[in-house]
């Protein structure tokens, strides 16, 4: 299994500012992912955080808006840049452990005013 810690657990931000969310895993993992869950909607994959190289973004998501860092095999950050109210969501870090099971963090609930 993998234990994932996300910070912050929640935040309220002003429009136009940026927020960085941290994801720490208790073991080295190859695959780390960032998902978004907008209010009343399902989880949508934002990107795969690659260690030592640029993140791989899904359709509809771009690096300028959601820059991601992955300095090592246990840590990643997701920044939500130039926020607007539409960015109000829960952002979830997830990792794949041995056996292929996907583990999730508790999520970071972001509210943009």
């Amino acid at each position: 299994s993998a234990v994932i810690s996300q910070k912050p657990s929640r935040d309220i931000c002003q429009r136009g500012t940026s927020l960085t969310i941290q994801c720490q895993v208790d073991s080295q993992v190859t695959m780390m992912f960032w998902y978004r869950q907008q209010p009343g909607q399902s989880l949508t994959l934002i990107a795969t955080a690659n260690q030592g190289s640029e993140a791989t973004y899904e359709s509809g998501f771009v690096i300028d808006k959601f820059p991601i860092s992955r300095p090592n095999l246990t840590f990643s950050t997701l920044t939500v840049s130039n926020m607007s109210p539409e960015d109000s969501s829960i952002y979830l870090c997830s990792v794949t452990a041995t056996g292929g099971e996907l583990f999730f963090g508790e999520g970071s609930r972001l509210t943009v005013l």
Binding site: L43, T44, T48, E58, L102, G105, G107
Partner: protein, 109 residues
């Protein structure tokens, strides 16, 4: 494009009654399907995956390729089954999941 459909946003079932949460998918290849569950104040966690063909907490799910369905079933609902359930599809085995919109299951005592 891959898509996962969960037609019921809300489902209420009496304790002891059978439960069925529906999931349909569209996918061109050979799918790998999962059910994830989120209990109140807990993180999202894997409930079961079709390739392991096991029963977890009394739940089973059978992949029906003809009907493109992966419905989750339990013969006798328990109060602790109340939770949010998500069906998910693995895209091409690359561990990136496409999720359905989820079904909130409430078990009525």
């Amino acid at each position: 494009a891959q898509r996962v459909t969960q037609p019921e946003k809300l489902l209420s079932v009496f304790k002891g009654a059978p439960v069925e949460l529906k999931c349909n998918y569209s996918y061109s290849g050979s799918p790998e399907l999962f059910w994830y569950v989120q209990y109140s104040r807990q993180r999202l966690q894997l409930l079961l995956r079709h390739i392991s063909r096991e029963s977890i907490k009394g739940f089973t799910a059978d992949l029906n390729k003809g009907e493109t369905s992966f419905h989750l079933k339990k013969p006798f609902a328990q109060e602790e089954d109340s939770a949010m359930y998500y069906c998910a599809l693995d895209n091409f085995g690359n561990e990136k999941l496409t999720f359905g919109t989820g079904t909130r299951l409430t078990i009525i005592p």
